[in-house]
C-alpha cells in the first residue's frame, strides 16, 4: 500500500487523539492569543452600555444543558454587564429542560454582584407554549407569568414596577440554541411590540441569523464560544470563554491541516491511479 493510501485509511482514533491533544494542551498551558472584537458582538455591548440606570433588560435563556458550554458564558457576561449598569433584569426561559440551569446562573451572578431578588432582578421561570408565551407577554406580562420561579406573585414586585407588557421592555436579548429562540423573539415579539432585540446563539445557528442582523431586525449577535470570549473581553472580566479560545484556535488549525493533507493525499492517489 502506498503512503497516500495508508494515510487515507488511517485509524480514525488517531485523529480523535490528535484533536483531543490539540484541545487539552492549550487548556493546560494557555498562550493568551489576542481576541479581536467583531461588530456584531459590539452591537449588543454598546446598546447595553448606552442604557440609563433602571432600564428594563429582558434576558431569555432559551437553551438547555446540551448547549451550556457556548451559551452559559454568554449569559454570565450579559448578566454581569446588566447588573453593573444597574439595569432591572427580567430573566426567563422558553425551554423547560433549561429551567434549573437558568435559575442557577441568574442566582449565582446576582449574588456575586450583590443584587436582590424581587428588587433588582426576577427570574420568571418557564411557561408552556413557546411562541405563545411571547405573544402572551406582549399583551400582559402578569397573565403569562402570574408568579416568579419561586412562587412569589409577580404583581407588586418592585423590579416589575411600571411594566405591563413587552412594550415596556427597553432591551431584550435571547440566548437561543434552537426553536423557540432568537427568531421566535423577533417574529412574535419585536416585530409586533417594537422593543429593541439582540441575540446570542450557538455556533451552528449563527450563519442562519446573520440575515436578521444585516437587515437590522436584531441589533447585535453573540455567536458561540467565540462571541462569549469577545463579550468577556469587552466587559473586562476573563471567564471560561476566553480560557477556551487558545484551544479553539489550536483545534481549528489542526482541522485545517488535516483537511489540506487529506486533499493532497486524495489527489495524489487519483493521479497515480490515472497513470
Amino acid at each position: 500500500m502506498i503512503f497516500a493510501e495508508r494515510m487515507l485509511k488511517i485509524d480514525r482514533r488517531i485523529i480523535f487523539l490528535v484533536i483531543g491533544l490539540c484541545t487539552l494542551l492549550p487548556l493546560l498551558y494557555p498562550v493568551g492569543l489576542p481576541i479581536k472584537i467583531s461588530p456584531e458582538v459590539r452591537g449588543v455591548y454598546d446598546y447595553i452600555e448606552s442604557l440609563p440606570e433602571g432600564s428594563v433588560f429582558l434576558l431569555s435563556l432559551d437553551f438547555d444543558p446540551a448547549s451550556k458550554p457556548e451559551l452559559h458564558p454568554q449569559s454570565i457576561s450579559l448578566l454581569r454587564h446588566a447588573f453593573r449598569k444597574n439595569l432591572r433584569v427580567v430573566a426567563m426561559t422558553l425551554w423547560v429542560s433549561g429551567t434549573g440551569m437558568a435559575d442557577q446562573v441568574v442566582t449565582q451572578v446576582a449574588r456575586e454582584m450583590g443584587k436582590e431578588n424581587g428588587k433588582d432582578y426576577v427570574f420568571l421561570g418557564w411557561s408552556p407554549g413557546g411562541t405563545a408565551v411571547i405573544m402572551n407577554m406582549g399583551q400582559d406580562l402578569y397573565g403569562a407569568f402570574p408568579a416568579d420561579y419561586n412562587g412569589k406573585p409577580t404583581k407588586g414586585l418592585p423590579v416589575l414596577q411600571g411594566i405591563a407588557n413587552l412594550r415596556d421592555v427597553t432591551y431584550a436579548v435571547s440566548l437561543g440554541a434552537g426553536n423557540p429562540g432568537v427568531e421566535a423573539w423577533y417574529v412574535f415579539g419585536k416585530d409586533k411590540y417594537k422593543f429593541e432585540l439582540g441575540g446570542g446563539c450557538t455556533g451552528v445557528m449563527a450563519p442562519g441569523l446573520y440575515p436578521l442582523l444585516r437587515s437590522g431586525q436584531i441589533n447585535g449577535l453573540i455567536g458561540g464560544l467565540r462571541g462569549a470570549a469577545e463579550y468577556e473581553t469587552l466587559i473586562g472580566q476573563k471567564g471560561k470563554a476566553i480560557a477556551g479560545m487558545d484551544a479553539q484556535s489550536a483545534t481549528h488549525l489542526a482541522i485545517i491541516v488535516l483537511v489540506i493533507l487529506c486533499n493532497l493525499f486524495y489527489f495524489s492517489l487519483r493521479r497515480q491511479s490515472a497513470q
Binding site: P69, S127, P128, L225, T251
Partner: protein, 249 residues
C-alpha cells in the same frame, strides 16, 4: 465543599468519560450513559411540565381561585388524548382543527412580515448611498455589510440561488451561467455553515474538557483521574474478554 457538589462532580465526570469511551469503540459504559441522558432529560421534562402546567396553571387557578373558564382549554387538550382510543379518535379532530387554525392565524402574517417582506426590503437596498455633505456615493468596503458593493453581491446571490431552484426553465445558455453562480453562492454558504458547525462542536468539547480539568482538583476527590483509570481498565478488560471468547468456543 458541599457534599452534593462533590457527588455532582463525580457523576458528571463519570458520565462524560463513559460517553467519550465510544471514541474507542461501542461498549456498555457508553450505552449506560446514553440511556441515562435520555431518561433523565425526559424525566426532568415530565416533572417540570407536570408541576408548572397541571399544578400551577390548571389545578390551583381552577380549584383555589375559581377560574372555571380554564376548563375550556383543558377540555380541548383532553380531546386530543382521544386519539389513543380508536372509536373516539374522531373527537380529536376538533382539537387539532382549533390549534392548527389559531396557530396558523397567529403565525402566518408574522412570518410573512418578518422572514419574507423584511428580508426582501433588505435585499433591494439602494445601490447609491446619500452621504451628508458629499451627495450620492458608491461605497466599496467589502468588510462593511451595508456597503454598496455588498448590496450588489447579495442581490446577485439571492437572484442566482432562487433561479437555481427554479426547475420549470431548462438551465442552458445564460440560464446555466446564472444557475452555476447560484451553486457557487450555495457552496460558499454551506462552507461557512460547516465551519461554524465545526467551531460549535469544538466548543462543546472544550466545555467538557474544562470541567474535567477542574475536577482533577483534590477538593473534589480527583474524580477525573480515578474515573479515567476505571474507564480505561474497564475497556481493557472488556477488550480482553471479547478476544478470548472465540478461543473458548
Amino acid at each position: 465543599m458541599p457534599i452534593e457538589t462533590i457527588i455532582g462532580a463525580w457523576v458528571a465526570t463519570g458520565l462524560t468519560l463513559f460517553i467519550f469511551s465510544f471514541l474507542y469503540k461501542d461498549n456498555p459504559l457508553f450505552k449506560l450513559a446514553e440511556n441515562l441522558y435520555v431518561g433523565v432529560s425526559v424525566g426532568y421534562t415530565i416533572v417540570k411540565t407536570y408541576d408548572t402546567v397541571i399544578v400551577h396553571l390548571i389545578w390551583t387557578p381552577i380549584v383555589k381561585n375559581g377560574e372555571w373558564a380554564l376548563l375550556i382549554p383543558v377540555s380541548i387538550g383532553m380531546l386530543m388524548l382521544t386519539r389513543y382510543v380508536p372509536k373516539a379518535a374522531w373527537l380529536s379532530r376538533y382539537a387539532f382543527a382549533f390549534i392548527v387554525g389559531v396557530g396558523s392565524g397567529l403565525a402566518i402574517p408574522r412570518v410573512i412580515s418578518s422572514y419574507i417582506l423584511k428580508q426582501i426590503e433588505d435585499t433591494v437596498r439602494p445601490l447609491l448611498v446619500m452621504v451628508p455633505g458629499e451627495g450620492l456615493s458608491f461605497t466599496w468596503n467589502l468588510l462593511n455589510p451595508a456597503s454598496s458593493l455588498n448590496t450588489i453581491i447579495i442581490l446577485i446571490g439571492v437572484s442566482s440561488v432562487l433561479f437555481y431552484f427554479f426547475f420549470s426553465v431548462e438551465h442552458t445558455g445564460l440560464g446555466k451561467v446564472v444557475a452555476r453562480t447560484g451553486i457557487l453562492f450555495l457552496m460558499i454558504a454551506f462552507g461557512a455553515a460547516f465551519g461554524y458547525t465545526v467551531m460549535a462542536r469544538m466548543s462543546l468539547l472544550i466545555g467538557r474538557l474544562t470541567d474535567l480539568i477542574e475536577f482533577t482538583d483534590l477538593s473534589y476527590g480527583r474524580p477525573s483521574l480515578w474515573l479515567l483509570g476505571l474507564t480505561i481498565l474497564t475497556l481493557v478488560v472488556m477488550s480482553r474478554r471479547a478476544s478470548h471468547k472465540p478461543e473458548e468456543e
